[in-house]
Amino acid sequence: MTKLFTTAAAVALMAGTALAQQDTITVGMQLEPPNLDPTGGAAAAIDEVVYANIFEGLTRFGPDGSIQPALASEWEVSEDGTVYTFTLRDGVSFHDGTAMDAEDVVFSLNRARAEDSTNAQKALFAGITEVEAVDPLTVRVTLSEPNGNFPFNMAWGDAVIVAEETIEQAATTPIGTGPFTFTEWVQGDHVTISRNENYWGEAPALATATFKFIADGNAAFAAMMAGDIDVFPVFPAPELVSQFEADPRFTVIEGSTEGETILAMNNAVAPLDDVKVREAISHAINRQEIIDGAMFGYGTPIGTHFAPHNPDYVDLTETSNYDPEAAKALLAEAGAEGLSLRLMLPPPTYARRGGEIIAAQLREVGIETEITNLEWAQWLEQVFTGKDFDLTIVSHTEPADINIYARPDYYFQYDNADFQALIADLAVESDPEARAAMNKEAQETIANDFVNAYLFQLAKVGVANANIEGLWENAPTQANDLTDVRWTE
């Protein structure tokens, strides 16, 4: 009897530990966030920790990229499309216990659009002329002109609602309204967050989650294999993923991102100011070879600057299909034979590996390239700000960012007045059908002008313990929303 009892106790104890293990998770990330304030920096790693976990905005991105209510339960647009009235949820409080109300929204939006604001996406707030608290649960935002995209803009991590009293400390101790509260940050090693018991919505299944930072691909592999990491939402070494596919303990999650990876061309300098030369380069590129060679098969070919999973996407890969003979003919026609171009490569693998392959493909049609590898800071200074380059490879990870082609001073320097007018119209259009038509026109315009060579949509390849569910498959924004994540057994 005693023995039986002991066994039962032991079983109960084991079950207890098993249960205890099931509500914590360790998430691997390649880069550590420099700080935890999403309103003061562009580093994707910040949002990957705090977005939808610690901080929330008026609206939010759902896992499929749709815009969903968050702190605002609903909103109305005035007839002329310039006044948005947001109704806030009742009973929402910040992690320090203070209530979240209309005044906090007014503060957050005004802070982001202020003259001395250091918000990395200040353009999201550009059209706002006034933000008023009508009553504690109602906020009225007045825009200078209609903006059909406004609820989308408010879903970004850069537009989260913060409290005036605590925002100064957000870099190291973020205080938001989300389902998780910040617990600790051991710099260089990990950030831990814990379940917010007073969350306004349904409390998450996980009691704590730890984000651990592992920069090296081989180290990430070892950490997954050793069981130190439960999930690596963006696995840093695609070449090692096949080993996880073969192992029943793990699942490989392949999804899409908002990252259009392009071979950007300097449209303002010869010979790339000639559309024929740009067209030739676009035809010289074999996309699948780059996807296979640089990304180990992960990625979707694109023919324009738009995400293939977006309903408005048009497949224009045929406009710039792989045709080296056509490329040679175009170069001859343009009188641009024997070209030598400078190819500047930032650090990510897609650029470094992709650059080697592109150089070889361009050589096939008679274009020599001189490759320079740059660190990010150098790339930003020389290529992005200084515009001192011919070709570069970069992934544009912001969602719905085709409007960058309407900025003539943007680094690839595409200047087309018709396109700029189209984007200006698109910004004020709120009818979905009209928007879809305009989006299509925009995609076609830049594809037919061969502004850049469009390579592929960056894939999100993650690896997770097979017993975890509720992870985002796609990355409509850079986030690791852990609200619905749970262990299945």
Partner: protein, 315 residues
């Protein structure tokens, strides 16, 4: 004696001052704007300008240099651009990983190298000597990150005795901390021990051939007694030099091993600081390391004097 200490102090201060000037100049001229790096490619020009103002990047170089120098003298290393926490806090956190790791690796390397070198020298030409020499040759040739990966595969992935990396923090418990530094320390110690063992062996062989050893043997000391009592001590000078150099290297140069084991150490902090253009962190950290190297060199000098009384008189 006072005069000696004074000149020594002046030269130390001068070296530090020159180092600070060189470090500041070199780091400020590398291209890359910290504000632009932080705000990324979608940021508007006025947001970048506002951040530059906030970080004080618009002040003149001379002013920023003096600010930095003055701050360091009063123990204020400034605020990290990206982490937004005081640099001293950041460095102290990392130092609590890097310093124990360096000491651990150094202890391992010394504990392995000295007996091994001793045996090889004492049995010069024997099979033991040849196999030790072969093994140390291999130890120097094998890159330490490869050895580190091998250790991870065996002890973390297959046997699961250790975790594959990371550092839980000393708060999690002393032994947990030591445990998580064990594989990295071995990976770091292997090439160091190999070098040290070879230096130990050749230094010992040289001293064993000296006249005073023959005299000691003639006086009736056994081979072992002569080695331990007379040769070992004299062979220590080159060994100490190497240990001093190795310590400086281990403190700052463990970056590759820190990456393999994703340890939050000083090497990775410098690396991150450079890529993120967190100039103030890089400047202060390099300065600190210069100081550490100068200090270690000084301590090695003192240690010379301890093993060799002739050096104490300061000739």
């Amino acid at each position: 004696m006072l005069r000696f200490a004074l000149t020594r102090f002046v030269s130390l201060t001068l070296s530090l001052l020159i180092a600070s000037l060189v470090i500041f100049a070199v780091i400020e001229v590398i291209p890359g704007d910290p504000a632009r790096y932080m705000l990324g490619i979608n940021a508007s020009e006025d947001a970048v300008a506002a951040l530059r103002e906030q970080l004080g990047l618009n002040d003149s170089l001379a002013l920023r240099y003096l600010d930095w120098l003055g701050g360091m003298l009063t123990g204020d290393f400034g605020l990290s651009y990206t982490y937004k926490v005081p640099v001293s806090e950041l460095v102290m956190q990392r130092l609590w990983v890097s310093l124990p790791l360096a000491l651990y690796a150094l202890a391992l390397s010394t504990l392995i190298a000295i007996p091994v070198g001793l045996i090889a020298a004492a049995r010069r030409g024997s099979a033991a000597d040849y196999s030790i020499m072969g093994a140390t040759q291999l130890g120097i040739a094998v890159p330490n990150f490869w050895f580190a990966m091998l250790l991870v595969l065996i002890f973390a992935v297959t046997l699961r005795w250790f975790s594959a990396g990371g550092f839980p923090g000393w708060d999690a418990g002393f032994w947990l901390g030591v445990k998580s530094l064990t594989l990295p320390a071995f990976a770091l110690a292997l090439p160091q021990a190999s070098i040290l063992a070879r230096v130990m062996r050749s230094a010992l062989i040289e001293t064993l051939g000296e006249d005073y050893i023959r005299t000691a043997r003639a006086k009736g000391l056994s081979r072992r007694q002569a080695t331990v009592r007379h040769a070992l001590r004299n062979a220590m000078i080159p060994v100490l030099t190497i240990i001093g150099l190795q310590f400086s290297f281990l403190l700052a140069g463990a970056i590759i091993i820190e990456n393999v084991f994703y340890l939050p150490g000083l090497g990775r902090l410098i690396f991150q600081g450079i890529t993120q253009r967190d100039l103030i962190v890089v400047e202060s950290l390099v300065m600190l390391l210069v100081f550490a190297v100068i200090l270690v060199t000084f301590l090695v000098d003192v240690a010379y004097a301890a093993v060799d009384p002739r050096l104490r008189r300061g000739r």
